[in-house]
């Protein structure tokens, strides 16, 4: 058998290269950053145990976690509601804290490692909302979609979890790794007229 080497590559490795894409505005309207080092788990509360799970997740996040489409947490750990009694937990970096969380949730929730199965990008800039509106049907206006709000929806027929991290605005977008390349094509095509900076 031929020798094989398994490479640890992010979902957009080779695609999201630092630099400027699209209109040379001198002041890119959209900035995109891929989060390349993270660990992720899904948490699904067992029947009737959602309140206990919320309590444990809140303790780990250091802020209240809701059983709702909201994103809570801090710079290194985020917990986002995806369905009733379900959350996606993302730890940036090595993700060692997820081991403790998994132990605390033992018996009251189903915890499933998502490995490197997701694409995570942050999109910010003055024209970010204009670019995202081209493929996302939900209302992302600042008056409606506020910091800490999250939604499970689709972008250009690709499943998408989107949340607003801050009012800069900085959007966090999480999608399946397997369709990351087509998702990237849509995003670049949509944002090109405003000028894109990949950082």
């Amino acid at each position: 058998m031929a020798d094989r080497t398994i490479l640890n590559r992010s979902a957009l490795a080779g695609l999201a290269k630092p630099g400027v894409i699209g209109a040379p505005t001198g002041n890119p309207g959209v900035r995109i950053r891929e989060i390349t080092e993270f660990a992720a788990i899904t948490v699904i509360a067992r029947r009737g145990r959602a309140a206990e799970v919320v309590e444990i997740l809140s303790r780990h996040a250091g802020s209240p976690v809701a059983d709702a489409a909201k994103r809570a947490g801090n710079a290194s750990l985020s917990i986002t509601g995806t369905a009733p009694g379900q959350w996606l937990v993302v730890a940036r970096g090595a993700g060692n804290e997820l081991d403790n969380m998994r132990a605390d949730l033992n018996g009251i929730a189903a915890v499933t490692d998502q490995g490197d199965g997701r694409l995570i990008i942050e999109v910010c800039g003055a024209r970010a909302r204009d670019a995202l509106a081209k493929g996302i049907a939900i209302d992302l206006d600042a008056s409606v979609f506020k910091a800490g709000d999250a939604a499970q929806t689709s972008a250009a027929h690709t499943g998408l979890q989107i949340a607003l991290i801050d009012e800069a605005p900085t959007f966090e977008m999480i999608s399946a790794r397997s369709t990351a390349e087509s998702f990237w094509s849509w995003l670049v095509a949509s944002a090109a007229e405003y000028g894109i900076e990949v950082v």
Partner: protein
């Protein structure tokens, strides 16, 4: 048409998949009575007016919903989770 999902909020109907008459589908008879099972599988009313339907939020929270819709106007008067799992969640 837009459907207000109890978890996700108001969404375009293209995020959903419709299955049909909720009351017919949620009352499954035993397979022993062949007449009743035939009714369950094939027979549907076609009301002009309020209709309770099963919709699956496939692009959102992936929950089955019971949507009460007026078939004449598409006005939706109620949306609820099809099972009790989602109780307590807010949009």
């Amino acid at each position: 048409m837009r459907i207000r999902c109890p978890y996700c909020g108001e969404r375009s109907n293209d995020e959903f998949t419709v299955l049909g008459d909720a009351d017919a589908l949620l009352t499954r008879p035993s397979g022993e009575n062949i007449e009743a099972f035939h009714e369950y599988v094939y027979q549907r009313t076609n009301p002009a007016g309020l209709h309770r339907e099963l919709w699956y939020h496939s692009a959102g929270c992936r929950r089955w919903l019971v949507v009460t819709r007026d078939t004449r106007t598409h006005e939706i008067t109620n949306v609820a989770f099809a099972n009790s799992r989602g109780e307590g969640a807010t949009a």
